[in-house]
């Protein structure tokens, strides 16, 4: 009754793309578990456009992108259960099955069993408590995504005079959204000397509306007892420490925080999956399989992506690999090489490649540690250079996607290293 070939945790862009791909690969006995009351995940509140240029070759809004995938799920007859929260994922002793404990009004608390599980839970925002901003705790401080949900999905009015801390994409998008809703956005303060958001968002969301972006600035104090009255913003030095005497007072009733996203991996950790401390997501192989056999991870729960198009592409691969695991098994006999992040590279996904399971085209995705201009991206294995690619500009806000052909990799002996080579060094 409660036995499945494949359970997919999360019905956002990652879960839907994984499910569609697994079904296409011949897995009929699958189920998507989604805790919200609709499919689509975070896309539903991302009403702005800019999604789908890679996947659909046209520019869509978040809800449109979500609805297209939800329609594919429905057309292919893939079952999904909404308002269903997964409480735990565990290995079953003495079997290759996984136990997934869920709670919902329909099921109560039940344990479902599956041969394979795809983790597609997405990420959440870094909250105020994790930022160490001093000051009182008045009403009016929101994470940017919470504000986005309140405004776009609930139709709420949340404030008239706004300051935004952090220049992540959601913060930039909300600067424009709040402006269109009639609020005045006084400034966006960013701790780093560069923005963590996409350039197009800085142009379209800030420059268009004359909203200043204060780089190397942060909020050093929050004022107001019951309601937010204002914040102090100060310049920071090269060690990101506030410089005495540079603080300025900004009266405001709303402070939005857009200070980073964290993959939501409580279930992953509970399942005994090894976590990569650089991504806060699972450490995965070329097949997007975690350290637990038959448990796959994709999308923002694996590593935070810049574009949903890349989430869909990656998740489809997770779906195909889960199908392969279910149908014929994944070859574990061959050599496994580590993929190491070298100079300028913060992490790589995957972090290991098993040579027997190479696809015709193999992706290595990473983010750089800082802003790099006129450099080369190099992939090597021992003395052997596998790829060298010139790049005019690399920024931490944009993920890099390298594609390596199977014949480049299949005969390697040494671990793989990905690094940035600075010209003239």
């Amino acid at each position: 009754m409660n036995e499945y070939s494949l359970l997919i945790i999360g019905g956002g862009p990652a879960g839907m793309a994984a499910a569609v791909a697994a079904k296409k690969a011949g897995v009929d006995d699958l189920l998507i578990l989604e805790r919200d009351s609709v499919l689509g995940g975070i896309l539903n509140q991302c009403i702005h456009n800019g999604f789908g240029l890679h996947t659909f070759k046209e520019e869509l809004t978040g809800p449109e992108y979500a609805e297209r995938y939800a329609n594919m799920v429905k057309e292919q007859g893939i079952p999904f259960e909404l308002d269903t929260m997964v409480l735990a994922v565990e290995k079953v002793q003495g079997s290759d099955k996984k136990a997934v404990t869920v709670i919902s009004a329909k099921r109560g608390v039940q344990t479902l069993y599956a041969k394979a599980v795809i983790l597609a839970m997405g990420c959440r925002e870094r909250p105020r408590g994790a930022l160490n901003i001093p000051g009182s705790r008045p009403q009016g401080v929101y994470t940017a995504g919470t504000a986005q949900k309140l405004v776009n999905l609930e139709g709420a009015k949340i404030g008239k005079e706004v300051v935004i801390l952090g220049s992540g994409d959601i913060g930039l998008i909300m600067a424009r959204r709040m402006t269109l809703e009639g609020a005045h956005v006084a400034a966006v303060a960013e701790l780093m000397p560069y923005s963590s958001g996409l350039k197009r968002n800085i142009v379209q969301c800030l420059d268009d509306y004359g909203i200043p972006l204060l780089l190397s600035h942060t909020v050093v104090d929050i004022k107001g007892r019951e309601k937010l009255e204002g914040v102090y913003i100060a310049k920071v030095d090269e060690n990101n420490r506030p410089i005495e005497g540079t603080q300025e007072y900004y009266p405001c009733d709303t402070l939005l925080l857009s200070c980073g996203l964290i993959p939501e991996n409580e279930l992953t950790i509970g399942a005994g999956v090894e976590i990569d401390p650089r991504t806060n997501g699972a450490s995965v192989s070329e097949s997007l399989e975690t350290s637990v056999e038959g448990v796959f991870s994709c999308g923002n729960v694996l590593h935070v992506h810049d574009l949903v198009d890349f989430v869909s592409e990656e998740s489809a691969r997770a779906g195909e690999n889960a199908a392969k695991y279910i149908q014929s098994g994944i070859d574990r006999s061959s050599k496994t090489l580590a993929v190491n992040a070298g100079n300028g590279v913060r992490y790589t996904v995957p972090s290991r490649i098993s040579l027997a399971n190479l696809a015709p085209l193999n992706h290595i995705r990473f983010r750089v540690t800082g802003v790099y201009k006129n450099v080369s991206i190099v992939v090597s294995s021992g003395e052997k250079e596998l790829l060298r690619k010139k790049s005019q500009i690399l920024v931490p806000s944009e993920m890099v996607d390298l594609i390596l052909k199977q014949d480049k990799l299949k005969d390697l002996d040494n671990d793989i290293s990905v690094y940035i080579e600075e010209v003239g060094v």
Partner: protein, 117 residues
């Protein structure tokens, strides 16, 4: 005269340089990696346009996400938002349905970006 701008056609965000003559006409564009960058620089420096995305309320006050079917002139953004703010839409709507015709006399319709029952 040289004008610098950032292309917004895709997340690449190419740094464009446009050479303008005395009358403000674009002579040449460099720094783009595709044709859209050149087109963007030419239109951005003569007649900038934006796709506007916002929400409009249904008769029972549910927010429906919407967008302008085509980009509108940049200086019309606020008029478009203002024009549709007080409209109330009949449900259900399907993704792609026109919910407001000819927003703020731009000649451009507003379409729903999500099906709402």
């Amino acid at each position: 005269m040289i004008k610098e701008l950032t292309c917004i056609c895709c997340p690449m965000g190419c740094a464009l340089k446009a050479e303008l003559d005395d009358k403000g006409q674009v002579i040449s564009v460099s720094g783009n990696t595709c044709i859209r960058g050149e087109n963007y620089a030419r239109s951005e420096l003569t007649a900038p346009v934006r796709t506007v995305t916002t929400t409009v309320l249904s008769k029972d006050e549910k927010p429906i996400p919407v967008k302008t079917k085509e980009p509108v002139p940049k200086e019309k953004i606020f008029e478009v938002v203002e024009d549709i703010k007080f409209q109330r839409i009949d449900l259900p709507v399907k993704m792609g349905d026109v919910v407001v015709k000819n927003a703020a006399d731009t000649g451009i319709d507003i379409v729903a970006t999500r099906s709402v029952d």
